[in-house]
Symmetry: C2
Subunit: 154 residues, 2 copies
Amino acid sequence: MGPDDLLTVGEVAHRSGFATSALRYYERETLISATRTAGGQRRYERSVLRRLAFIRAARNIGLSLEEVREALDTLPGSRTPTKADWARLSRAWSARLDEQIRALRALREGLDSCIGCGCLSLRRCAISNPSDVAGTRGVGAVYLPRRLTDEQRH
Amino acid sequence: MGPDDLLTVGEVAHRSGFATSALRYYERETLISATRTAGGQRRYERSVLRRLAFIRAARNIGLSLEEVREALDTLPGSRTPTKADWARLSRAWSARLDEQIRALRALREGLDSCIGCGCLSLRRCAISNPSDVAGTRGVGAVYLPRRLTDEQRH
DNA sequence: GTGGAACTTGAAGTCAACTTCATGTCAAGG
DNA sequence: CCTTGACATGAAGTTGACTTCAAGTTCCAC
């Protein structure tokens, strides 16, 4: 009956595009799971690949792992998730993307008017206003990612 | 002739919206500078406020401090930057914003088609494809920021 | 001239999402 | 049976952009 259909970390890493270290990290963070061989090595079911695809997609869209976990937790624990399950999760992203695009456009419009006067006024300029749309709390960019066009992978 | 027109860190912090710790950090990173009193306390010229407004705007748009530094370094060292100087720097952002919006729209379209089938296929789905548009190198989201609507400041 | 708020410093801590390292064990082809 | 590549672990390191801390100093209104 074949080799029991289970995948090693190396195989999962190769097929998912994640590093093995990332897979171990995701396991610690309870985003994925695996059975173990008698010797203690991980063995993954095929379904982990779709789960990892979801994780990558979510990360691409900008969700934190915490948010990914929350989403994954809404999957039925009893049965293998269906396409409809995944579609439901993905659908929620659409609104999020719309919102982000909207925010970006607003920022761009503000920028256009700022360029006209070169002001960047602390009080009037929407772009540089600290208490305005952008709540720069926490780490990193508020509106946009870095390195959008930097696609090298090692 | 008035109190010499110089600002303390506290004043600059209050008027710029940055924490004093951030101002010290920016100084270490040579993004801003200050003179000192006989006793060693910082005193800022008013022009630092516009510089900080630029920094905040750039951060809102998603530039790293490194990129901000590069931009600021193109300002003339000899004279006080004019509105035209600031406008020139801001203009460069417009293209960047356009690019980011474009990438977001592409992502959204891909998502729409993915929702249709619920696939998230590792091979076919543009959204979850590891080697596709998103080169998830470095830290954080590739396409989008987190916490876009989370505006609390403390 | 004094009290206390505001300032100074370097060092260390934080956060997310991993990666790297050192050291040791497992699995399977020859 | 043996070798060797793949795997295991916990601890520590990385990055960017700061914040927090401890301990001491300065400024200035009264």
